[in-house]
Symmetry: C2
């Protein structure tokens, strides 16, 4: 660290809305974003929806002096759209692609083609190791009838798993991005409760930005007001989250967002507002470590675990709803496929055995025959591929549900203050948590 | 731990070859495996190719007393085939699906449908936390002309990333499975060098099993000797790897494999041999921690890092070869698609404008017209889907290559003994490692 005891880190996050030829004023906005980032010199810049690598390379060139370290996370067909720029050395990177991310046939929604993911970079900030995550979850196209909700919940589940399991060696954890979830949405609660990540907006006393920290606002000229639905004041779906470790305490000294316009420019950076958080990392002295322990112990009180059990159970219910829907879609695909096959066989039978055509004077017209056969093949091929697709979706949903069930069992075990299972004890009588889990399978 | 200072853990790994209706004597072999596991009571059982959930549930029921904790990892269309049974409590699980895993149109190879992955379970062994991984990499169908080599190298890369980044909080790390790689294959060296995992077969003084520890042997009645090619004595592709931590030292006291037959049974458990390793976990006393530090420092000597740079560079070359092949396959798909489109347009033109048929007396026969049109559509659809598939493959290969380049830069930085990059230093003159990386992009 530059200072012996504390260091300040400025973190920036923005969904760039960078669909070439489709997003309005894309080139102009990237130029504005590049100028601003160059000038502001944030320590860490987390960008989403940088869909074109050319735009990433443009920014990389522009920020080569202010942010010598950068990474572009590649995934899916188009790319994950995730990019990171840093003043501090990026030692290592890792990408986790979410197992569920919409459907390829919903091409107008495009999420599937983006290959949504969470990118991680291990940064050296002085002597500290910071794990920095940038992510973008599946969009919410209709809040009332959100068919992607199970997908987003599974993404939130995988996100919290990834952060939790990869951050054990980090002194500081920072996550930024477009979560596509309201602050109190299930996935958001799941992420924050399970990982212990704290919301920069809620943690700071000094906030300068849109009311309630919203990042999708009606005042933004790129926003169609209808998109906001009943949330006329705007929606908060972009976040900067953080947590410290046993070595380092993290505080959010200030936070700000853009407010739908940029001074001296006729339009804003994007259809989302940009976020900036100033974090202060404070190293523990050995005496403080004891205090940290107390905080940790307090954190893992029964209340917190009980809340987590409730949230995971809620997530599990949502995944089960998804399972039910996907099973019914797979069944429909299978049934349609069988009908296509039956039609094809019937046609072949009529063509092969003339007396089946029930006294028709003409033979089966050849043109109709070929057209009908082509239709049958098209049905068979499409339903076969849909069946494969839905089977994969089912496997992912079942996998997430299994993991959630196991997690609930484990948490309940903690909650009951049971001793850790010993092999010899388990041999005779498995602890209650286990039997609950087993019965449900 | 049960004993104050050391605890013994018996680990078992087996590729079960469990393709229902296709693998020989599947049901009988599962019954044998279940009996043996029940009797042997290994602490941790890692199984691969348990392709049917029914077989997993059969084993789960059979092992409910000896191994009360278990998990089945779901992925892909069929499932990952990975299963874990444990005498110790499984606190948490996580699955990483490899980004590359063969092609769906290579259905006879089947790997794509399996959704190859690495499964992780966090176990409580007394007061210790053990991260246990079970994995299965893409099969090698032809060693001389291995078109899946780039995929397997990327899988090994992602496997080492996953293990390295998720095991920081673990006291003990154990990985078992069918890596489908010979001991000195690139992916294997990459995995062991980068993670520091040690090979149980090489670490033990007491080995009882096939010569050279091979796990695919000609003596196994389920093996077609041709499969072994020039390796008549057999091939070692199944492994149990492990490492300790700053808190715990791990030693492999003994290791054994089956030898192609099972006493009192007419056939073996599988077409692979089973592996058993007895590990001894020894907790450090505070004095020993100093020694561990010395070992750690010794581990990270220049020699080890230089070797790692060479291996990652070799892997990067292999990924580049893969990139080249995939680019050429994508180009072929695109060219074929364009030809299909041209054919369709030509056909439509001939049908629409009679004089184009160059003096043909008859109009375009309707049957031929429909057949040709159907063919064109089939070509267009197929090439479009192949284009999407190859684009996704390219993104994954490019992503892995980017990560490898960054890793090499980072390792070289370590090697040169450069001080950690400070923001203010970086602003003026980026360190050499960075400029190398930047130039290459």
């Amino acid at each position: 660290m530059t200072n012996a005891d504390s260091v300040r880190i400025r973190v920036f996050s923005l969904n760039c809305w960078g669909i070439r030829f489709l997003s309005k004023l894309c080139t102009e906005r990237y130029a504005m974003i590049g100028d601003m980032l160059c000038k502001e010199e944030h320590d860490i810049v987390l960008l989403q929806e940088v869909w074109s690598e050319k735009d990433y390379l443009f920014l990389k060139k522009k920020l080569s002096l202010s942010h010598p370290h950068s990474h572009y996370f590649k995934s899916g067909v188009i790319g994950s759209g995730l990019a990171m720029f840093s003043k501090h050395r990026i030692r290592d990177t890792f990408l986790y692609r979410f197992s569920l991310n919409g459907y390829p046939y919903m091409a107008h929604h495009g999420d599937w083609f983006g290959g949504k993911a969470v990118g991680m970079a291990v940064l050296s900030i002085g002597s500290l190791t910071a794990n920095v995550y940038v992510t973008h979850l599946h969009a919410e196209y209709c809040r009332e009838k959100d068919s992607y909700l199970p997908h987003r919940v599974v993404q939130a589940w995988e996100l919290q798993q990834f952060v939790r399991h990869t951050s054990a060696g980090a002194d500081v954890v920072i996550l930024g991005g477009d979560l596509n979830m309201h602050p109190q949405d299930l996935g958001n609660r799941l992420l924050r409760s399970y990982t212990g990540l704290r919301d920069a907006y809620l943690e700071t006393d000094t906030f300068n930005g849109c009311e309630d920290g919203v990042t999708l606002i009606a005042d933004n000229p790129f926003i169609n007001k209808k998109e906001l639905g009943p949330f006329e004041k705007g929606i908060r779906i972009d976040y900067i989250l953080f947590k410290g470790s046993s070595k380092v305490d993290v505080f959010c000294d200030s936070m700000s967002t853009t407010k739908g316009s940029v001074p001296d420019h006729p339009f804003p950076y994007s259809d989302h507002e940009a976020l900036m958080a100033e974090l202060r990392l404070v190293s523990h002295t050995p005496i403080e470590t004891g205090r940290e322990k107390c905080i940790k112990e307090k954190d893992s009180t029964a209340g917190r675990v009980a809340e987590l059990v409730d949230i995971v159970t809620e997530a599990r219910t949502e995944v089960k709803v998804g399972l039910h829907c996907t099973e019914s879609m797979r069944y429909t695909a299978a049934r349609t496929g069988v009908m296509g096959l039956a039609l094809l066989l019937l046609e072949l039978a009529i063509a092969a055995v003339p007396w089946l055509a029930l006294g028709a004077e003409q033979p089966f017209p050849l043109t109709s025959f070929y057209l009908l056969a082509a239709l049958c093949f098209a049905i068979l091929l499409t339903t076969f591929m849909l069946y494969i697709l839905y089977t994969m979706e089912l496997k992912s949903l079942q996998g997430a549900e299994d993991q959630m069930r196991l997690a609930v069992g484990s948490l309940q075990e903690n909650l009951r203050g049971f001793p850790l299972a010993q092999p010899h004890v388990s041999l005779r009588k498995p602890p209650e948590g286990v039997s609950v889990m087993d019965q449900e399978e």
